[in-house]
Symmetry: C2
Subunit: 158 residues, 2 copies
């Protein structure tokens, strides 16, 4: 087994029996760590990272978008998006065709291979969610989902 198979909770907050355990935010982080570790593990089996995964999905869903629009939607800085797109193109998962109206821009689209992989990835993620959140009672699971969605409207950072 390679070292990359380790997905323990290696976090600067992973401790027992201290004041941190009084914070909901701490438990939120731990929960995300657990989910993230499993998710990355699942995606790795498809040779995808969080960034390439979400990028591929978005391109598959919204055809003919240009790079900067997609980067903005994903909240990724444009320079960092270049390598992601290049990788997906190199692997034949998406195509970059010049926009005829604006020859600076690219139109990104998923290939049939890309669509197939996106489909596979979504199914794998659904299974992953079942595995993890299925450990909660059906009621708790629904509650959690409902409550978490409320955070979308919260301010972040001020």
């Amino acid at each position: 087994m390679s070292a990359s198979d380790e997905h323990d909770c290696k976090v600067a907050l992973n401790t027992r029996a201290n004041v941190l355990h009084g914070f909901t935010g701490y438990h939120l982080r731990c929960a995300w760590q657990v989910v993230q570790a499993d998710l990355m593990h699942v995606l790795k089996s498809l040779d995808l990272r969080l960034a390439t995964y979400s990028t591929l999905l978005l391109i598959a869903e919204t055809p003919d978008q240009r790079q900067s629009t997609l980067a903005d939607t994903l909240g990724i800085e444009r320079p960092n998006f270049v390598a992601i797109v290049e990788e997906l193109e190199r692997r034949g998962l998406i195509t970059r065709t010049r926009d005829l109206d604006d020859r600076r821009a690219y139109c990104l689209n998923a290939t049939s291979e890309g669509l197939a992989l996106a489909d596979q990835a979504v199914k794998a993620c659904q299974a992953h969610e079942e595995k993890l959140f299925g450990q909660l009672s059906a009621e708790d699971r629904a509650q959690l989902d409902r409550i978490l969605r409320q955070f979308r409207t919260f301010e972040s950072g001020r």
Copy 2:
């Protein structure tokens, strides 16, 4: 205002209206992002990072522990822990005294300044939690805390 005052949700999953929104894990991540952004903002006003904060708290709570024990508890690699401890010592927040029984080891303890700062940080975090989770109904907040705690027992990554 410096650029570091920006705490938007700049995340490779921050998109609207796509399949990702069907995943609870996605919302979990967004929620953590919101909480983390605010938390880092709060800690920054005390010149603390997540790592120095949790380290200081742990040292304040469990006196006379040695470095590697603390690092293990926090889930931080020993080499990376060195700089954190050095910073806390340099700022006069903790002391490093040689263990008489094992002259290789240090015993770490918080100074009175360290204890004071830890106290201040905890209070600031409590206020931060009030501000954020206080936006939920009291019932939802309690539910969320209860449900999140269940993840502690979940396997991570296989």
